[in-house]
Subunit: 339 residues, 2 copies
């Protein structure tokens, strides 16, 4: 047995396939009686229209591709949700792929998406992506692209980001406002634009408050994992007793720092305040609850899709609009780890 | 400008479109010289084969649909990852949709997937799904379906689950083994098969250890949220000082219970032991770290895709195999909240 096809409907009713198709698509040159007959039978047979033929005619799949660095990740889960909710409202489905935060795999996954003829792509770069041939090839083929979160300023396309410099500056300023003076930063290597910008924001806040940047309090980690946070905290605990606050560039790093301080009986926030970045659900579970920067993933996902959709529609109508970069607002979430 | 098409390649090289297509698909009746010429030009022009025409010929999209109740959810994120990694290896893309854990929306999303002509569907039911007309219609149209995690025994298809009865029994037995005698269960309403089975497992462990089931220690909650866990803990704290252990049917419930006990100076595990269910990342962050049942999402996602893929291949070859239910192993993860 096979799926119900247009063939079957036309056969049963003794009409041509094209009449059956026209009836289903509500064409004016088919009689209301025939239309009703076809629609009733289609319903009875659970007929699903063959989108392959429709796609071939329209050269549209009504499917978009979404590349995320990591799927098991609170922020990116929120991105996915924001994208699919917005896409669903416009009749688009979303193919989700993961780059494993790796350039080579990102290229491969983008290629796989294009082979499915997606109508557009949403992409957040892997940390080690610094060659952009793959996205330039996409753009030269006129496939709409929106970069979100981890972007590159070298690519000319629509983008949606938060202002990482401003957000990190706000986080550091929050620590200064509550009286902290020796503020360490825990960060991964200065490769991705987000880390670079958060680092800049930290230094900017120090500068504006006449606090000297201290290279020794600038702790570089391998990555942004819990384990790396723990190692960084150990360095601070063993060598820098003067530190009274830590700004960690991700929540996982911050939680690692917190765990290690607790293990070593360092009181948070009495001795050291800690602030993270992203507002993962995890931050509401730690003891004490973690202060952080809210990074609204669902909203970012929605805006990313909306930008892509506009471009798809514009392309259909041969309209060309200048590319935009939408900046999503963030705020400090002050909880128990900073007092 | 439009995407590079087969037309353009054939035009530039002065060969027929069908020859160009055959060259790209490595047909034997095209000379090696022509093949090389076509492939080089295709590469130069960043040509992506038109999958619409391919799909129409094969009546395959090489896309499958994955319905999850909730996307921002550690376990389901792992499911998604397991599915897309397995699918990618077989050349399949995965459209991800969310049912919002709601029957009506689940029906709508399944319909949206079918309109994209997916080759098969992976589905975990919403908590309030107890009408199965939508999946029966799917099956009668011969669209391969695999149910995972939240399944129904009433549907005849491939399934992948954990043995929730056994897992809950193991969790309760763990509490008994460490000396607990007054063991409360915190659970949502007995609607989904998973909750029903975890409830059965709890009662089975009590029975096997000659501990009487106490209706008063059976705390029913609105849902499986953190807040519901907190409310349940308050009921236990205020009315049942004799309780020495809690089995919560999800990690979020367990964490809510833990938070409220801590706020009320109940020592965990000294006064009350707590065990959750699922092994979310969160459970490694709480103080004390939470004991739980490991529920391997990635493995479940992989097995679900593999079952679907087998069925797709079998259908192509007109092979019919009996449906299987694969049971994934679970284990108790003993941490600081049970001693």
């Amino acid at each position: 047995m096979s799926k119900t096809t247009l063939n079957k409907i036309s056969e049963i009713l003794g009409i041509s396939k094209s009449t059956a198709s026209k009836a289903l698509n509500n064409y004016a040159d088919v009689s209301p009686k025939t239309k009703a007959m076809v629609l009733n039978l289609a319903k009875e047979l659970d007929y699903t229209p063959n989108s392959f033929a429709q796609n071939l005619r329209s050269q549209e799949s009504k499917i978009i591709g979404l590349i995320v660095p990591e799927i098991v990740h609170y922020f990116f889960s929120n991105i996915i949700l924001g994208v699919i909710n917005a896409a669903s409202k416009c009749g688009y489905a979303v193919v989700v792929v993961q780059s494993n935060d790796d350039y080579e795999y990102e290229v491969k996954q983008l290629d796989a998406l294009l082979q499915k003829n997606v109508d557009g792509v949403l992409l957040s770069f892997a940390d080690n992506t610094n060659n952009f041939k793959h996205v330039k090839s996409l753009l030269s083929n006129n496939v709409p692209l929106v970069l979100y979160d981890k972007i590159s300023k070298l690519i000319d396309c629509n983008k949606v980001v938060i202002d990482d410099i401003k957000a990190a500056q706000m986080a550091t300023q929050h620590l200064i406002d509550i009286g902290c003076k020796k503020i360490a930063i825990v960060r991964n290597k200065l490769k991705s634009q987000t880390t670079i910008d958060r680092y800049k924001g930290y230094k900017k806040a120090l500068l504006l408050n006449d606090i000297e940047y201290d290279k020794l309090l600038d702790i570089e980690t391998e990555d942004v994992s819990l384990e790396s946070g723990k190692k960084a905290a150990l360095t601070i605990f063993e060598n820098h007793k003067e530190v009274d606050a830590v700004f960690a560039v991700t929540d996982l790093l911050a939680i690692g720092v917190l765990e290690t301080f607790k293990e070593n009986n360092v009181q948070v926030p009495e001795q050291i305040s800690i602030i993270g970045f992203s507002n993962w659900l995890l931050t509401q579970i730690t003891t004490p609850h973690l202060s952080t920067i809210d990074q609204p993933g669902q909203q970012m996902g929605k805006v990313a899709f909306d930008l892509l959709y506009s471009e798809i529609i514009n392309n259909k109508n041969n309209v060309k609009e200048p590319y935009k970069t939408v900046v999503i607002d963030t705020k400090v979430i002050s909880r128990e780890s900073t007092k």
